[in-house]
C-alpha cells in the first residue's frame, strides 16, 4: 500500500495568549506543532502499513520551517516526507491548498490518502474532500474506525450526528479522521535518530507542475476583506461588590426574569 498522510503545521493553541489591549493573537514564542487531528491520521497510516506492508509518506504545504513537523512525523515511523514550499503558495485558501496538495499527490501515486478532519487554526474541514475531488477519487469523512483494508477496497465507520455509518468504497480513497480512531504513538528513540538524518524533499510549484494561476493568493477564489473584534453587547450589566453582593444581584436578576 502506498499511503500518503497530509499534515499541517499549526501554532499550539493551548499555548496561545491573547493581547488584552488589542484582543489579538500573540504568536511570539508560541511553539508550532503538528495539527492534533493529523497525528491521528499519521497513526492510522502507520497501522495500515503494519498490516498490509508498504510505505507511509507525509506531505505538507507550508513555509520552510514546516520541515520540523515532517521530521516529527518521521520520528513516529513515517518513511518519506515531502514539503511543498514556494512563495507562489502563500495566501492559499482551501481551494488553492487542495489544488496544490492534489498536484503533489498525483505525482506520488497513492492507494490511501489520510488527513485529519480539520486543522485547529482554520477549522474548515474542507481541504480533505476538495483534494479527493481534484484527484477524482472517493472520500470518506470523519472515520472513527477502519474495519477492513483489502487490496482494492476499504470498509470504515463514519461518525455522524446521531451515530455512525458503515461505509465501503474502492481504492484509491481519501479518508479524513477523527480522534476517536486511535491513540497516536510517541516517537521512539530510534525514530528520533532517523528523523534527524532523514531527507525532507522540498518541492516548488514547478516541481509538481502546478499552474500558478491556481496556487496561492492568485488561485484562491475567496479573499479576506477585513478582520474585526466581535462587538461588545450593549446591554451588559457588570455585577459589582463583594462576592456575596454579586451573587445576590445575580439571583435577583434571574428571579426578575422568572428564570429561577
Amino acid at each position: 500500500m502506498n499511503i500518503i498522510v497530509c499534515v499541517k503545521q499549526v501554532p499550539d493553541t493551548s499555548e496561545v495568549k491573547i493581547n488584552p489591549e488589542t484582543g489579538t493573537l500573540i504568536r511570539e514564542g508560541v511553539p508550532s506543532i503538528i495539527n492534533p487531528l493529523d497525528m491521528h491520521a499519521i497513526e492510522a497510516g502507520l497501522q495500515i502499513k503494519e498490516k498490509t506492508g508498504g510505505r507511509v509518506t507525509v506531505l505538507s504545504m507550508g513555509p520552510p520551517q514546516a520541515e520540523t513537523a515532517l521530521r516529527d512525523a518521521i520520528s513516529m515511523g513515517a518513511d518519506d516526507a515531502v514539503l511543498l514550499t514556494d512563495r507562489a503558495f502563500a495566501g492559499s485558501d482551501t481551494w488553492a491548498t487542495s489544488y496544490t496538495l492534489s498536484s503533489a499527490i498525483s505525482k506520488l501515486n497513492a492507494d490511501i490518502i489520510i488527513c485529519g478532519k480539520q486543522a485547529i487554526d482554520g477549522d474548515t474541514a474542507q481541504v480533505g474532500p476538495e483534494v479527493a475531488e481534484f484527484l477524482n477519487i472517493p472520500h470518506i469523512s470523519y472515520v472513527r474506525k477502519i474495519e477492513n483494508v483489502a487490496e482494492s477496497s476499504i470498509k470504515v465507520q463514519r461518525l455522524m450526528d446521531e451515530g455512525y455509518d458503515v461505509v465501503e468504497t474502492k481504492l484509491p480513497v481519501l479518508l479524513t479522521v477523527v480522534k476517536e480512531l486511535n491513540e497516536p504513538r510517541l516517537p521512539s528513540l530510534r525514530g528520533k535518530m532517523t528523523a534527524k538524518k532523514a531527507e525532507i524533499k522540498k518541492w516548488s510549484a514547478s516541481d509538481i507542475g502546478a499552474d500558478e494561476n491556481n496556487t496561492g493568493l492568485k488561485g484562491s477564489p475567496t479573499q479576506v476583506r477585513n478582520i474585526f473584534a466581535p462587538e461588545a453587547k450593549k446591554d451588559r450589566t457588570m455585577l459589582e461588590g463583594k462576592p456575596e453582593e454579586q451573587v445576590d444581584a445575580l439571583i435577583q436578576e434571574l428571579r426578575r426574569l422568572k428564570c429561577l
Binding site: 491573547i18 484582543g23 493573537l25 482551501t94 470518506i140 477564489p221 454579586q246
Partner: protein, 398 residues
C-alpha cells in the same frame, strides 16, 4: 507576498506592529518586514502614516465570470426522509438575501418526498429542485456532489448555502472544487454588500478573538456553510405556494456504498442542545474537580453541563460536552460560563443564548463582551455561594 513594504518610504516608526492581528510584521534593521504569517487582511495598510505598506495588485484569475448568475439556493438535507431543521433556518437567512437582491429563493432536496418539498416552500422557498431517486436516500458524497454541481452548472445561482453538518461539511467542498469557486465554512452571519451585491461571509478567523469577513468576488456561485442553531427560522406560511421541479438523476453513480446506519443515542449531547440552562466550565476551573462543582449547580438547576475546548483538551471532561466551533452550537435561555475566557471559537457556539452569565477572574476576558451579566471574581468563591443561595430560594435549606 501580496502585501509588501516599500522600504524607501518606511521609516521604522512601528505604527503597523500593533495593527497586525497575526503578528506578521517585524522590524528588521529599522524597516518593517512582513513575514509568512501574513494572512493578507490589509489591516496594516491604512495604519501606515508613510503610505509605505501597499497591496500588490492581484490579477483577476483567468476565466473569471460572475455575470449571468442569479438566485439564492439553500441545500436542504434530509436524514431518514425527514428534512433537518437547519434547512429551515437557512431558508430564513436565504429569504432575506434573496429579497435584498430582488431574486428568487430556491431549495434543493435529495432523497425526500413531495410533502417535505412543500414544507420548504412554506418556510420561504419559491422553488424546490427535488430528486427522490433511491441513490439519495442515504447520504453518499459522490452522488450528492455530482447532482448538486450539475444543477448549479445548469441554473447558475449566485449564492449557495448549506448546513455545516456532517453531511454538508463533507460533500459541499467537493462541489466547490468541481465548480472552481470559493467556499466559506461555518459562517455566523451572511449579508449582501450594497455597492457590489457580493455576499459578505462572516466567520471566526484563525485563532484569537477576531472575526473575518470573507468575499468571493471573482467566481460564482458564492458558497457558504452555516452551523445549525446559528440562524433564526423565517416566517412559516401555511398557504404559501411555489414550484416543485422534479430532477432526473440518470447516470449518477457511486464508488462508495453505505452498508449500514447505526444510531447511537447520545443523551448528553441531546441534552446539551435542548437544554434551557447550561452551566459551562473552561480552563479557569484549573482542575477536573471543578466540574464536580458545576455538576452540583447543574443538578440544582436541572440543567446540562458544557465545556470549552480548553477544558476538553485538558481531559477534564469528554468531548461531547464541548460547546463552540468544533463542538456543539447551543442556544439556551441561560448560559452560565465559569472560568471561560471566551475565545471567539467558543463564543460562536453560544452567543445567541438569551442570557449569558460570565464568571471570570480576569476583567478583560472577552467573555464579558457577550455577557448579559458579568461577575469579576473567583469562581470557586462565586459558584458555591450561588449554590447556597439557590438552595435558599428554592427552600431547600442546607
Amino acid at each position: 507576498m501580496p502585501v509588501i513594504v516599500n522600504i524607501d518610504k518606511c521609516n521604522g516608526c512601528e505604527e503597523c506592529l500593533a495593527s497586525c492581528p497575526f503578528d506578521a510584521i517585524v522590524i528588521k534593521e529599522g524597516k518593517a518586514f512582513i513575514n509568512e504569517y501574513c494572512e493578507v487582511c490589509m489591516a496594516c495598510i491604512s495604519v501606515c502614516p508613510e503610505g509605505a505598506i501597499i497591496e500588490v495588485e492581484k490579477e483577476k484569475p483567468k476565466g473569471a465570470d460572475v455575470g449571468g448568475y442569479e438566485g439564492v439556493w439553500v441545500f436542504a438535507e434530509q436524514r431518514g426522509g425527514e428534512v433537518a431543521s437547519v434547512a429551515y433556518e437557512l431558508l430564513g437567512v436565504g429569504r432575506k438575501l434573496a429579497d435584498e437582491l430582488d431574486t428568487e429563493l430556491s431549495s434543493v432536496l435529495f432523497g425526500a418526498s413531495d410533502t417535505e418539498a412543500q414544507e420548504l416552500i412554506r418556510w420561504g422557498a419559491d422553488k424546490v429542485y427535488l430528486s427522490n431517486a433511491q441513490i439519495f436516500e442515504r447520504f453518499n458524497d459522490e452522488p450528492y456532489s455530482e447532482l448538486l454541481s450539475s444543477l448549479i452548472r445548469e441554473h447558475k445561482p449566485e449564492i449557495v448555502v448549506a448546513g455545516a453538518t456532517p453531511i454538508g461539511r463533507s460533500f459541499i467542498p467537493r462541489v466547490a472544487a468541481k465548480l472552481r469557486t470559493g467556499l466559506t465554512a461555518d459562517c455566523t452571519s451572511l449579508e449582501i454588500e450594497k455597492e457590489t451585491g457580493n455576499l459578505l461571509q462572516i466567520r471566526p478567523a484563525f485563532g484569537g478573538n477576531i472575526m473575518a469577513t470573507i468575499l468571493c468576488p471573482n467566481s460564482r456561485p458564492q458558497m457558504a456553510t452555516v452551523r445549525p442553531r446559528v440562524m433564526k427560522r423565517g416566517q412559516y406560511d401555511e398557504g404559501r405556494t411555489g414550484e416543485i421541479i422534479d430532477v432526473k438523476a440518470d447516470g449518477i453513480s457511486s464508488r462508495t456504498r453505505v452498508l449500514d446506519t447505526i444510531k447511537e443515542a447520545s443523551e448528553i449531547s441531546f441534552n446539551l442542545q435542548e437544554a434551557e440552562i447550561i452551566v459551562s466550565g473552561g480552563r479557569g476551573l484549573g482542575d477536573p474537580k471543578g466540574f464536580k462543582l458545576l455538576q452540583e449547580l447543574a443538578q440544582l438547576l436541572d440543567c446540562a453541563v458544557g465545556a470549552s475546548r480548553a477544558a476538553v483538551d485538558a481531559g477534564w471532561i469528554p468531548y461531547r460536552h464541548q460547546v463552540g466551533q468544533t463542538g456543539k452550537t447551543v442556544c439556551p435561555k441561560i448560559y452560565i460560563a465559569c472560568g471561560i475566557s471566551g475565545a471567539v471559537q467558543h463564543l460562536v457556539g453560544m452567543q445567541s443564548s438569551d442570557i449569558i452569565v460570565a464568571i471570570n477572574k480576569n476583567a478583560e476576558a472577552p467573555i464579558f463582551n457577550v455577557a448579559t451579566y458579568g461577575i469579576v471574581g473567583d469562581l470557586y468563591e462565586i459558584v458555591p455561594l450561588l449554590i447556597k443561595k439557590i438552595k435558599e430560594v428554592k427552600g431547600m435549606g442546607n
